[in-house]
Symmetry: C2
């Protein structure tokens, strides 16, 4: 796993910022360190792949990076092998994972990222599929993937867009914490609640919490604790 | 379908009321009309089946109804055939549906409800599984059912615990309306957004909105409209 080079964003949008703007320094650090000039974008979490790829292109082209959509490639396997960096965008996690299974892209992506060290950027659904499984997505299950097991680039689960539920709410639906705790109760696996504006940077066997907010770790024993900005998250990788 | 006799609740809990209390009149109307004295409760959406069955028993025993848990029966098929009424409780919709598939209970329940006219009460997850599919649940996918297709006691989808997202929120996760609209965009099927405290009563080919709040119908053409209390919903059954 020493080749692993990941940036897993909670979200692409953060209140008060333009699209991906809050993550610019994190993206540029990663891309510069790896001499990335062109990013291969995986747009399958949204319906309009051209429009989605254009959105990402418009956001990061001004920073000096070209963006190509994987959906435009005749030979997707070759496109992945040629990729300088892979960016999997957010949207619906179920649609994204089902498409990755349908197009048989899970193993090719895993190989590039884990064996060849190709940088992987995920946002929201793209972060969910980078983890062990999509069991902790917030999305509505509008599509049925053959399994919820995902890329497993890291051995724990993430809940993107994590937030505490308003304690004054009169709504009786389950809170986010109740939902995540339910996953932990069934699976005995840790979940990192990643607030908007934060991300996880993984370099080989080292993982770090980036961004200005804390993250909430739901431990496999049912407890939970807050992890502060720049916290060392490497212990979450050691379950491998 | 003339035998069909359903009460589909958005939730068992409503702010300011005890468990199931808001639905007492609706439940009693149904049970009295069908001479129900004992309810067969299906507790699989939560982890502790005994505790969950006791919760429901404590709620409705004072009204004069006995409650038995399906999980206590050696022969579940016989228990369903003997049932005076079937009540499927809420919890996690994915866990519930996976269990119904594992125990091969979908067809036996369908047969009792659609062919023999056994009354069916569902709440939250129990309402989701009563519809065509669980694609419009709010729950976290903590378990992977072999399919999202469900009992299809009605041919449309319901979103229980429906609520509008606070328009002043700075959170960038998708709103409930965006999630439901995404389902409609992929499937071109209508979804009834059922607010807490409301329910759908189905008698044969007639369906009615019960409760004191309106419901939001997401139409298969992408539009939406509000339906007022006591609205005739029979048109939603005519897709059969």
């Amino acid at each position: 796993m020493s080749a692993r080079n990941l940036l897993l964003l909670s979200s692409s949008r953060v209140h008060g910022h333009g699209y991906l703007e809050h993550a610019r320094a994190q993206l540029e650090d990663l891309f510069k360190a790896c001499h990335v000039k062109t990013v291969l974008f995986v747009p399958y979490a949204l319906r309009d792949h051209d429009k989605y790829t254009a959105l990402v292109r418009d956001a990061i082209a001004p920073w000096g990076y070209a963006v190509e959509g994987l959906h435009t490639k005749d030979d997707r396997g070759q496109a992945l092998r040629d990729a300088q960096a892979i960016f999997v965008g957010g949207g619906n996690t179920f649609v994204l994972l089902r498409t990755l299974y349908q197009l048989q892209l899970l193993e090719p992506i895993r190989e590039q990222v884990l064996q060849r060290g190709v940088p992987y950027v995920g946002s929201s659904a793209g972060t969910n599929v980078a983890t062990r499984s999509i069991h902790t997505t917030n999305d509505m299950p509008v599509a049925h993937p053959p399994s919820f097991e995902a890329l497993a680039l890291v051995p724990f689960n993430i809940n993107p867009h994590y937030l505490e539920t308003d304690p004054n709410s009169e709504h009786k639906g389950e809170t986010r914490d109740e939902r995540i705790s339910e996953f932990v109760a069934y699976h005995s696996r840790p979940v990192l609640g990643l607030r908007e504006g934060t991300s996880v940077r993984v370099e080989g066997s080292k993982a770090t919490l980036l961004g200005s907010r804390s993250a909430k770790l739901f431990q496999s024993d049912g407890g939970s604790r807050e992890l502060q900005p720049l916290a060392d998250l490497s212990f979450l990788l050691s379950q491998e």
